[in-house]
Amino acid sequence: MNQTSKPAGGTAPTADHRNVAALHGVDFSIDGKVIFRGLDIAIRRGEVTAIMGPSGTGKTTLLRLITGQLRADTGRVVVEGREVATLSRPELYAMRRRIGMLFQNGALLTDLDVFENVAFPLREHARLPERLVRNIVLSKLHAVGLRGAARLRPQQLSGGMARRVALARAIVMDPQLLLYDEPFAGLDPISMGVVLRLIKSLNDALGISSVVVTHDVREISQIADSSYILSDGQVVASGTPAELREHPSAVVHQFMEGLADGPVTFHYPAPDYPTQLLDRSEGA
């Protein structure tokens, strides 16, 4: 059992080789709005780590901190033992070559077909014989079940297919760490099941580490080795999915059970409803 005893807690990451990435006491704000306060997260090597939380809690921002697209105000973001903020641009790019990321919408390059999208990182970073590029790309497309779609354009793909192509592209450079940003959003149940199985099988077969940012609790609970729940800029709970379901925190309970109202309120902050209806100074 690995539960936090207070909302501001979270499992303190250990600076050991078992962590492929870690955030230590990270504060981050955008335009004066606080996104994270003292965030501590550890991504275990070889595991599927789920980052969950209500919309707007900065889950995607967390991924951008790991990839160095954003810099923490204070605290440390460490990837593969090196602090991201201290890396020079070439070092940062070298680090990113060992990271794959699946964007929510796939982010496929619309001027290239499926094959060229998957081949893109190879062509940019390695001077390989065309035959080898072809074999690597076809093997990755085969792994996601889309070898037959190699010559389709991104516009011809369904949402699930686009995400699988993006997954093939994310693994084409054989990364150590795979980041998934809302991989299940907007997918039909079949596509969702396919993507879910792919995340787990790729993680195990390739021996990589995965971070899945999602709010699809049921789905991710099937494959996650450990989970963090974020709320109000902090980790409110962490542990295995089973542990989180038994967590005493009201926020965690509301999130895990998908309750409409609770500590995370249904209504956006607003003046008293009857008072606003009677207020003649506002509107027509």
Binding site: Q69, Y93, I99, G100, F103, A107, L109, P121, E124
Partner: protein
């Protein structure tokens, strides 16, 4: 005081944007040599911005030339010197109309295409995806598009001028009966290499300016449908104004 404050704020915003554009231009120039090492990307963009603009450039060139022929003939007829139509048309097309009208058409066709493409790439996370894949979007996407536009623009200007001269000749010589020999010989006698250079310099300058504005606006577009639309509009408006301002400055310098 409120009005003054607003003016100050607007001036500050304008200067900040100008500074950002200048810095962006510096980055583009710095990355240009390495982008030229991959000529296929640049050639693709010359095709996208240049070859795909050919129909509109040629059609407009023909009609601009034909109108010039009609108006020029009408004007010169009053002085009994219709044969000077070739000279007048060639000089006005080479020195002014060719580069300026081509730049305005370029901004409307290729500039909007560049800005909306880059804006959509930003809005759909394609540029972020490149960054994650350790590919610099400036080098891979922005610079080839800038270079493609900057190379295509002078070529389009030359084609515009050639087609427009054909239009002038069509109306002046074929329809209105000006002597073909004196039309071409007067033109060849009066037009000097410096006139051609003036058009060339303007074409290159407008090409750099319009391409830079398009890629800058697109690359920095707000990642929403509205933001992309605004970037596209700004590209046309700013390109048109900058083209005309630069035209005045260059003309004043070269006269």
């Amino acid at each position: 005081m409120g009005l003054l404050g607003e003016m100050l704020q607007n001036t500050r915003d304008f200067l900040a944007r100008l500074g950002a554009l200048t810095r962006f231009f510096g980055q583009v120039l710095l990355q240009s040599p390495s982008a030229l090492l991959r000529p296929r990307l640049v050639v693709e963009q010359v095709y996208n911005t240049g070859a795909l603009s050919l129909v509109i450039i040629m059609t407009c060139g023909l009609f601009v030339g034909m109108v010039l022929g009609l108006q020029g003939h009408d004007l010169l007829e009053r002085f009994g010197s219709e044969e000077a139509l070739g000279t007048g048309a060639a000089l006005s097309l080479l020195k002014e109309l060719g580069p300026v009208v081509t730049a305005l058409l370029f901004a409307g066709r290729a500039g909007t295409s560049l800005a909306s493409e880059l804006g959509l790439m930003r809005a759909t996370d394609q540029l972020s995806a490149m960054e994650i894949m350790a590919v610099d979007p400036m080098r891979r996407v922005v610079v080839p598009r800038f270079l493609g536009g900057a190379i295509a623009m002078p070529l389009l200007t030359a084609i515009f001028i050639a087609i427009a001269l054909f239009g002038v000749q069509l109306v002046g010589v074929q329809f209105l009966g000006i002597d073909q020999g004196s039309f071409w010989s007067q033109m060849r006698g009066a037009v000097e290499l410096s006139d051609v250079n003036e058009g060339l310099i303007k074409g290159v300058t407008f090409g750099i300016a319009c391409s830079l504005i398009a890629v800058f606006e697109g690359y920095n577009a707000e990642p929403t449908a509205e933001g992309v639309g605004r970037a596209t509009t700004r590209t046309v408006v700013i390109s048109a104004v900058v083209t005309l301002v630069l035209d005045y400055i260059l003309t004043a310098l070269m006269l």
